[in-house]
């Protein structure tokens, strides 16, 4: 079956004191090729753990992940990842960062350079390609991270709060860029975010996760990503369904957080 499939993924962390934390419980999910899924949830619901398992950095306690029919074991270039910050290589300039994947694969310069330069142009960093990473702003650094991931031509792109560290204005611009790249490249994307608005804007599908144990609480199919590819994101936010869905999800997450706090307080 093409696409990314998660089959009953469970993850249990054993603590040194003998107890354990059930981070994920029977999470099953299928992402068709070219789908964009955003994952929302209160802190501690296991969404980052889930992403790390899909990326191959963690092995699940039980369950299986397959990509285009073959089982996923360990990290691989077929599943690219974009981190929140600090994952670029400061000792390389912009172009060397973007060409890292092809270079490690041993491809020839003449082979990958045109593609690298094309990607730099798409993300708007053509004139910055010889700059050092620390000379760029936070937004520009995330553009480099996106281009670096795309230069490797992965089947799936995993994003772990890629815009979380940016200011509001830059964030809006970057959301539009993510949508544009998704549309142009047709990649399968799994995006983790804290921002309900971002999840709504970017997610073709959206899952809300619940904590203790981490599991899928509710799933939505949304029209906004499709709309946003053709119009200004501010216009999309004015869509009547946008506001109601946002309120619904916000109160859902709010209730989960309340419940966690209730658990923590001593019974009276």
């Amino acid at each position: 079956m093409p696409g990314l499939t998660l089959n009953n993924i469970s993850m249990r962390f054993d603590l040194p004191n003998g107890s354990h934390v059930q981070a994920l419980q029977d999470v099953s999910l299928h992402l068709a090729k070219g789908e964009l899924l955003s994952v929302l949830g209160p802190s501690g619901c296991g969404k980052t753990t889930l992403l790390n398992i899909v990326a191959g950095f963690l092995a699940p306690t039980s369950g299986e992940i397959t990509l285009n029919g073959h089982a996923v074991r360990g990290p691989d270039a077929e599943r690219g990842m974009v981190f929140q910050e600090g994952a670029l290589f400061e000792w390389m300039n912009v172009r060397d960062n973007v060409s890292f994947g092809p270079r490690m694969a041993g491809r020839r310069k003449s082979d990958y350079l045109p593609e690298v330069d094309r990607l730099l142009e798409i993300v708007g960093l053509k004139d910055f390609r010889d700059k050092a990473i620390y000379e760029l702003s936070g937004g520009m650094q995330q553009r480099v991270a996106l281009a670096r991931c795309l230069a490797n031509d992965p089947d799936v792109i995993l994003m772990d709060e890629p815009l979380g560290a940016l200011d509001a204005l830059t964030r809006e611009k970057m959301q539009a860029l993510v949508l544009k790249l998704w549309k142009e490249t047709g990649k399968t994307v799994m995006l983790i975010t804290h921002s309900v608005e971002e999840a709504l804007l970017l997610g073709e599908r959206l899952i809300v996760m619940a904590p203790r144990p981490g599991r899928i609480h509710k799933e939505y199919r949304l029209p906004f990503a499709e709309l946003g590819a053709g119009m200004d994101l501010r216009e999309v936010k004015k869509h009547p369904d946008f506001g109601t869905t946002r309120e619904e999800i916000l109160s859902m997450i709010w209730n989960m957080e309340e419940e966690i706090m209730g658990h923590m307080e001593p019974a009276s």
Partner: protein, 350 residues
Amino acid sequence: MIFLLWGAFTGSRLVPLHVPGPFAGETSFTYQSESEGGQLSDGRVRIAVGPDGALPAGAETSEDVAVAVQSGRNKLIQLPDDARAVSVNGTGIAPGGAVPVEDGTVSMTAKGTLSFAAERGLQMEPIWLPSPEAVVGRFIEVMANGYQNHSLWEHIGASLLRVLAGFSLGALVGIPLGYAMGLSGWFRGWFDPIVEFMRPVPPLALIPLVIIWFGIWETGKVVLLFLAALWVMAIAARAGVSGVRISKIHAAYSLGASKWQILRHVIVPNSLPEIFTGARVAMGVCWGTVVAAELVAAQMGAGMMIIAAAKFQLTDIVMMGIILIGLIGFGIDMLMRQAESRLVPWKGRG
């Protein structure tokens, strides 16, 4: 500031203000003496104080005693007719006592002889603290003629060469050891206790052992400096490895890099800033240690130069050596900083 103080306390011509210097010139005091027969008589002592100690002119009457005193020294005063002084400037004096007079102090020895010491002032004598110009003069002289059979450059070059050899060996062994400790639990388990135990041991404490094992000559010194640099470099390299952000490693993995590629392209460059910091520390430690090692036994070297000069109380050479050692140490650090900002410009901006 330190220079001004130094100049002020040594009477330097380069500094406008001085603390009072030793008295020089002529002075006198009166005394009353008692002869063996119990007869009292008044008298006067004229004193000339100066570096050459010439007698004052005009010692005419029999009561006048003329004395010349060298600056900074005491002088016993023989009164005429072996009389015994009972008072000085009208103040009674007894054996062991002292009376302050103009420009100095008159004291009486246990046997009853008067002794005069001129005012010393607050300035230091050159054998304790030479003036800046004396040190500069000595620097020029040593630069031209060398010291203890070797030119100044040979002395400094010998020290620098030892530091360079010891530091290079220390880095050559320490950095791979640090990497191994940072990457492998097995290495960490075996070497962490050794490194953590050896690190706080001052290199100077190893001198006796190193001498016993390797002798007092070059091998011993280089081994000592090697040990001084080794632990610092190992810890720096290890910190550089374990300080790498996990997201960088993850990013490299998901871009398809192999373990070796990650070591070569991510972990090693990421550790360079830490290694440079360690190198600067190690260089400082080595430079301090080489000077101390040369105090023990050496024919050439900046440390040997000052210890040899100290034995002859050539304070100006000692001071010159200390200043040179400080300047060179500072120069080394400046060079390292330059290299650092050129080679790891991303330091602190990750």
